[in-house]
């Protein structure tokens, strides 16, 4: 039995799993994310959201392969990838794998230091580029990520606190493809983190529970904590905040997000779309691959 306070209900196992699948289906339909004939590339980390998403897509009959990126964050990345591999092997699913250090000569800790950026920013840049590339190279119609309601509400909160108009203009469950980018979708936006975690437990999906050691103390987690505090006393707030923005606020920022698309050109190194001559990923690779690798403490 699981209580979902924002639905003011307790659910048995059968009906909770049905709730999760129905919420995903509703998001896919409502936002026209993809169709039955589309090839979906799922961004897989070994965490609860990506594995829950992949499981739901396969159960619903979609053609979904996974892509996992070995980020080189010590034992954590090894463990995380292990969960992804076992999930795919047990279900005979196709999991593509990119090892960042082997293929690009750096890992996230080293890249963050070389670029003098927060690890999460370096990780995000790296993953976005590699997922886009894999989708385009592999002929996939869409990249699906495990972003859930908590993720989107926290990002929205951060964007509103700083009035990041450009990001607010792009914060949608679907980012249309074009200009060399694949379509990107977030089928789990109607599900809270607690629900995706429960889905995995009830489906017997083993996932990495430990948090990324490089994420500790970051702003995003702080925003999530703040929203959970509000949600605790006012269930349904996260849903109202995010979906209220989509319904009544997002269109006011549409122009701010679109301006960049008009200035895109091909990266002179890799050919990916960029507003600069050399894209941010290639600039990162150039700096990070030449840097002395960062040694993480054992157990990280």
């Amino acid at each position: 039995m699981i209580d979902v306070r924002r639905h003011n209900a307790n659910f048995c196992v059968e009906h909770f799993l049905r709730l999760c699948r129905d919420q995903m289906a509703k998001a896919v339909d409502e936002f026209a994310m993809f169709g039955r004939d589309d090839r979906v590339l799922v961004a897989v980390s070994g965490g609860k959201d990506s594995l829950a998403l992949w499981d739901m897509l396969v159960e619903a009959g979609y053609k979904a392969d996974g892509l996992c990126i070995g980020l080189g964050i010590g034992d954590y990345s090894d463990a995380s990838s292990g969960y992804a591999r076992r999930f795919a092997q047990e279900r005979r699913l196709t999991l593509r794998y990119v090892d960042l250090r082997e293929e690009y000569g750096y890992d996230i800790p080293t890249g963050a230091r070389a670029a003098r950026r927060a690890p999460c920013a370096t990780c995000g840049l790296t993953k976005r580029h590699l997922f886009d590339k894999a989708a385009v190279d592999g002929g996939y119609d869409v990249v699906a990520t495990g972003h859930n309601l908590d993720d989107e509400a926290a990002v929205l909160l951060g964007n509103v606190l700083r009035w990041n108009r450009e990001y607010l203009g792009r914060q949608r469950p679907v980012l249309p493809g074009g200009h060399g980018f694949p379509r990107k979708v977030k089928p789990l936006v109607r599900l809270a983190e607690r629900e995706t975690a429960a889905y995995c437990v009830l489906r017997g999906i083993d996932y990495i529970v430990e948090e990324c050691p490089m994420a500790a103390g970051n702003k995003h987690l702080g925003y999530k904590g703040a929203l959970d505090a509000i949600e605790s006393s006012s269930p349904g707030t996260k849903h109202a905040f995010y979906f209220g923005f989509l319904q009544r606020g997002a269109e006011r920022f549409d122009g701010d997000g679109a301006a960049e698309s008009a200035m895109l050109t091909a990266c002179t190194t890799c050919g990916s779309p960029t507003t600069a001559g050399v894209c941010a990923f290639c600039r990162l690779v150039e700096r990070a691959s030449a840097a002395t690798p960062v040694q993480l403490r054992p157990g990280r």
Binding site: D3, K48, D49, C123, L125, G146, D151, G158, V209, E211
Partner: protein, 73 residues
């Protein structure tokens, strides 16, 4: 009862009976941020926990994000 906490991993003992909600209050944990798993079964907030139970309190918050857009998990 034995209570297993994660991130960081540690074990504490509590006397039962106690409700899930009361246990989380005692541990200063937000119900929205965790799953409570008793003897490998998820239990709701109004469930009662006894001395013989083995309880895992599993955090569900995840993910580090770059500014503006999230990177997912």
């Amino acid at each position: 009862m034995l209570v297993l906490l994660r991130n960081p991993r540690r074990e504490v003992t509590f006397a039962g009976p106690i409700s899930v909600a009361a246990l989380l209050n005692r541990l200063e944990l937000n119900r929205e941020s965790v799953l409570v798993i008793r003897n490998q079964t998820i239990v709701p907030g109004d469930a009662s926990l006894d001395d013989a139970d083995v309880v895992e309190i599993r955090p569900v918050i995840s993910g580090g994000s770059s500014a503006g857009s999230s990177a997912g998990s």
